[in-house]
Amino acid sequence: MDQRAILDHQFVIAAYAITWAIQLGYLAWLGLKWRAQQRNARPKGRATR
């Protein structure tokens, strides 16, 4: 493998890894937001019952 091919390969890996990191990071943030929302909503639900 020449130097150019190695660099090409590294750039492809970087692009794919960054894409997955952004997408999964957003999904995780969404999950945390959802969990916090559920946690905050529950005590009020009990109080109004």
Partner: protein, 234 residues
């Protein structure tokens, strides 16, 4: 039943993403001039397509909010939730485009960035929708949703400009994949298949997280409405 359908959809989406990745890395051949670096295309272009679609959903939601805000409160809230979900998930995909593009550009052109029309209009699009999200996050008061809807509509006006930029102006960016003339497009069937699978997979993934974001926002709206009602009752 609903949970089962969502779980099934999520499993199919993950399988599709795996299959699309395999197609892009192992099945599609190397491009003749850009060699392996061209495989960034299989994530870069589908992400741009999905971002454009979600900004269009945000536009529809923003228009819906402005149309319904005075006479149909529930419809207005639903429209607003779609507008926010579309803008936020659109920004996620647009961020992917703005990071994978320079990585590809560095290998193809030897530079990370150039202020050509396609790249600049895409950056402006991203900045407009980041402003939209910041407005929604930090502004307070009854007019926030209306202001956000107006900004969302103006932001969406940039989408056709981004799409047409490499037709209207001479750019460093490659010709459009579709409708860019006889020299453009994906010619190799294996490359076309890998591209198609990646468009399908990222669209399925995007719709999944869009639906989740919409659901979270609707839940937030209901809690806020309940809080307001409790305050009135107290």
């Amino acid at each position: 039943m609903k949970k089962l359908a969502i779980s099934l959809y999520a499993v199919v989406t993950v399988a599709l993403l795996g299959w699309a990745w395999y197609q892009a890395i192992y099945v599609a051949p190397d491009e003749q001039t850009m060699h392996e670096a061209q495989r960034i295309f299989y994530y870069h272009v589908p992400s741009a397509m999905v971002a454009f679609l979600f900004f269009a959903i945000s536009l529809a939601g923003s228009v819906g909010y402005l149309a319904f805000r005075r006479n149909r409160a529930e419809w207005a809230q639903i429209s607003d939730a779609w507008a926010l979900a579309g803008a936020e998930v659109g920004v996620v995909f647009c961020t992917v485009v703005l990071i994978t593009g320079p990585l590809w550009g560095r290998r193809a052109w030897g530079i990370w960035w150039t202020w050509d029309a396609r790249l600049t209009t895409t950056l402006v699009l991203w900045l407009i929708y980041v402003s939209y999200l910041l407005l929604r996050r930090f502004a307070a008061g009854p007019q926030v949703q209306t202001l956000a809807a107006v900004l969302g509509i103006f932001g969406a006006l940039d989408v056709p400009i981004v799409y047409m930029s490499n037709r209207w102006w001479r750019t460093q960016h490659p010709a459009p994949v579709f409708g860019g003339g006889s020299d453009s497009g994906v010619k190799d069937p294996a490359m076309l298949a890998a591209f198609g699978w990646n468009v399908l997979a990222w669209l399925a993934w995007g719709l999944l997280i869009l639906a989740l974001r919409y659901h979270v926002e609707r839940h937030h709206q209901k809690i806020a409405a309940q809080d307001a009602q409790d305050a009135l009752d107290a």
